[in-house]
């Protein structure tokens, strides 16, 4: 069964298909700087193709085996850890190179390609969960994305990785895909008390989440997705904070119908309808996804309906779509790129109810993962 496509006649689907397929084919050497994010490239292209309805599990069936080669189990039995490394040439015997981000992207890609056997019988589920656990920093509450390359005193979270909400989200999403559904499951692998304080620390007084009090739509989506996936810990904030966050998120929609902002260099009336990631910044197509995902999680439509999405769709299709080259760009005057193409298609798909934002999976793939694979 092919994924459900977004239906909008203004989309130049053929061009987008070509644009996305190009990223899965042979890439010129300028892409070598993205080596550490290779599985992200694969995921963004596959998700983008899913959103336009391509039967990728058939078209790219031959790549399942190649993807699986990025998966490694380290150690044995009850102390094994398992995960994905980003690039086949980083498979080194003496250094720990698997990472949480590559693991999530690897799992997402295999789910998109319907490698159900991997999930049902081949994966070392406990090993992956233990890897997440080893990346956890219980004193700070967050996660490093990888481990120190040498396990001197056992596996240690990398001392050189950032440990912000992105990685916390990635860790929680992996545990979810490995079968965790509520706090009693997650707490087998991570300290939920310290994780809760870490998430609370990132809550901002104006609503939203961010580092050191500066709210950011990307981090906000991470934090709310974490709560959505853990499912039974919404009580760490009062309702008033969620209301405030809805307000903060809706305020990120840029409007050309407001009093004049003299001397404002980061305002463009062409941004009308698009979402910005922070106050007083230009709109950017990817924040359409992060904001709509956040607003969906907070069930905003029950309070204010979905009309705000019309303006966003208009903005994404009329301003950021490149109907000549295919793909979408961050705004109305940059070149299209893979990340913004994936996020824009995902946003359009999300608004038509065909995407699961907190798992970052097409709805049908997410439903299969939730019900058939690795049920709790």
């Amino acid at each position: 069964m092919a994924p459900t496509p977004i239906l909008d006649e203004r989309l130049t689907i053929q061009k987008h298909r070509k644009f996305l397929q190009r990223h899965l084919a042979i890439l010129p050497s300028k892409h070598q700087e993205h080596e550490a994010n290779k599985l992200a490239i694969v995921t963004y292209a596959l998700i983008g193709l899913s959103c336009i309805g391509d039967p990728i599990s058939e078209e790219y069936a031959a790549s399942k085996k190649w993807l699986r080669r990025h998966y490694r189990v380290i150690g044995q039995g009850d102390s094994s850890i398992a995960g994905f490394f980003p690039s086949l040439y980083m498979d080194l015997d003496n250094a720990l190179t698997i990472s949480l981000t590559s693991t999530l992207f690897g799992l997402i890609s295999l789910l998109c390609l319907k490698d159900h056997k991997f999930f049902n019988s081949d994966v070392d589920r406990e090993g992956i969960c233990r890897f997440v656990s080893k990346c956890h920093k219980p004193e700070a509450g967050g996660f490093s994305a990888s481990l120190d390359i040498i396990a001197e005193d056992g596996f240690q979270p990398s001392k050189t990785d950032p440990d912000d909400l992105r990685h916390t989200y990635v860790a929680i999403a992996i545990l979810y895909l490995m079968g965790c559904r509520k706090s009693s499951h997650f707490s087998q692998y991570v300290c939920l008390e310290s994780l809760s304080s870490h998430v609370k620390e990132k809550a901002c007084i104006s609503g939203g989440f961010g580092q050191y009090g500066e709210p950011h739509a990307g981090y906000t989506s991470c934090a709310l997705s974490i709560l959505e996936l853990i499912s039974d810990r919404w009580d760490i904030f009062p309702d008033s904070f969620y209301d405030r966050t809805i307000e903060w998120l809706l305020q990120r929609q840029v409007s050309d119908k407001c009093p004049e902002m003299s001397g404002h260099e980061h305002f463009d009336p062409e941004d009308d309808g698009g979402f910005q990631g922070r106050e007083n910044k230009f709109a950017d197509s990817c924040y359409g996804f992060w904001c709509v995902n956040s607003l969906n999680i907070l069930k905003t439509s029950q309070k204010v309906g979905n009309e705000y999405q019309n303006g966003l769709s208009e903005y994404l299709i009329n301003k950021t779509q490149n109907s000549l080259l295919g793909g979408f760009s961050k705004n109305d005057n940059e070149d299209p790129d893979l990340y913004h193409t994936c996020l824009t298609l995902a946003a359009l798909s999300l608004m038509s109810g065909e995407f699961d934002g907190s798992l970052f999976l097409p709805r049908k793939v997410a439903d299969t993962a939730k019900s058939q694979l690795i049920a709790p």
Binding site: K159, T160, H216, K303
Partner: protein
């Protein structure tokens, strides 16, 4: 790499990068330099060599793939093994990192690597961090990672004394810089445990009002103003601040809303007023009027949200 006279890698067999595998996606056409640099860096990592030449090899690899967390971690392990807690040597590493940072401003591994170095350093100094922070902010005054790193430093060194002034200098350059406004609030909330003393608060209120007068339609300064009241003044707007906000939306509560069409200077002033009026039943009528004006005239894109706010007034 072999062109650096200082280091010899003749005894190192570069690990090959094989490509053209079955089912391969994103097959990158690596160039020769890339194959050599990565071949040697990986070979050294594979044999766990911690040496000056390995350190150099990681810098070459990181130049080519700045997001390679494994190479950053390898580099850190080399630094730790070779230099331990030798402050002079660690400063050299920070010098290298400064240079790399200037050439790779969007990379975010640089900041967490920096934090790891400072935590290893026997006598880290806030002063040492200021020039790189300054040049990075000069290059992009809203760079989220740079602001985050600055705040991490401020907390790490417990050094707040220059921060309000620093934020002011950025706000003077661009009054719409939300990061700078958030930095102000970060200082107020973290410098003194029991909250800022009243003379500081008075100063902040005065400062904020002045900035609002310069640019009335600025969400950052109005958010900050509301933050001052919510965080430190029990959320109670006093008559003076109501009067101040009213001056940017003159006459709005005096006329019949249905034929209201005059221009106001700030929709955020109106929101501020609506928020204050919505706290008290006696002023619900004004709150409703403010929300209605936002919905009809000054912020129609959010009209359903303002309608929701009006509905919430009855509860």
């Amino acid at each position: 790499m072999s062109d650096d006279p200082e280091f010899q890698y003749d005894d190192v067999e570069p690990l090959p990068i094989s490509s053209d595998q079955e089912g391969e996606l994103c097959q990158i056409m690596y160039d020769e330099e890339y194959r050599t640099v990565m071949g040697i860096a990986r070979a050294l990592l594979q044999r766990l060599e911690f040496s000056e030449r390995a350190l150099y090899a990681t810098s070459q690899a990181i130049e080519l793939v700045p997001a390679f967390y494994t190479m950053w971690n390898y580099r850190f392990q080399i630094v730790r093994t070779l230099y331990g807690a030798d402050g002079v040597k660690l400063n050299c590493e920070l010098d290298w990192l400064d240079e790399f940072t200037l050439n790779n401003p969007k990379n975010y591994q640089i900041w967490s690597y920096r934090q790891a170095l400072l935590q290893l350093h026997p006598s880290p100094e806030f002063q040492r961090e200021l020039p790189i922070l300054q040049s990075m902010i000069d290059e992009d005054t809203k760079n989220y990672h740079v602001w985050s790193y600055r705040r991490w430093c401020v907390l790490f060194f417990r050094e707040f004394s220059n921060e309000l002034q620093f934020a002011s200098s950025l706000i003077a350059r661009d009054v719409y810089n939300n990061s700078a406004w958030c930095h102000r609030m970060f200082v107020l909330k973290n410098q003194v445990r029991e909250g800022p003393p009243s003379e500081v608060l008075t100063g902040e209120l005065h400062y904020t009002k002045k900035q609002i007068e310069i640019a009335p339609q600025n969400i950052s300064s109005w958010n900050y103003l509301r933050g001052l009241y919510d965080e430190f003044l029990d959320g109670e707007a006093d008559p003076a601040i109501i009067e101040f906000a009213l001056s940017f939306a003159p006459g709005i509560f005096a006329v019949d809303i249905s034929d209201f069409s005059s221009q106001i200077q700030s929709s955020y002033a109106l929101e501020f007023l609506a928020h204050a009026y919505a706290k008290n039943k006696d002023t619900f009528a004004q709150a409703r009027k403010a929300y209605q004006a936002l919905s009809d005239h000054y912020d129609p894109i959010r009209k359903n949200f303002w309608a929701y706010k009006i509905r919430s007034l009855t509860t």
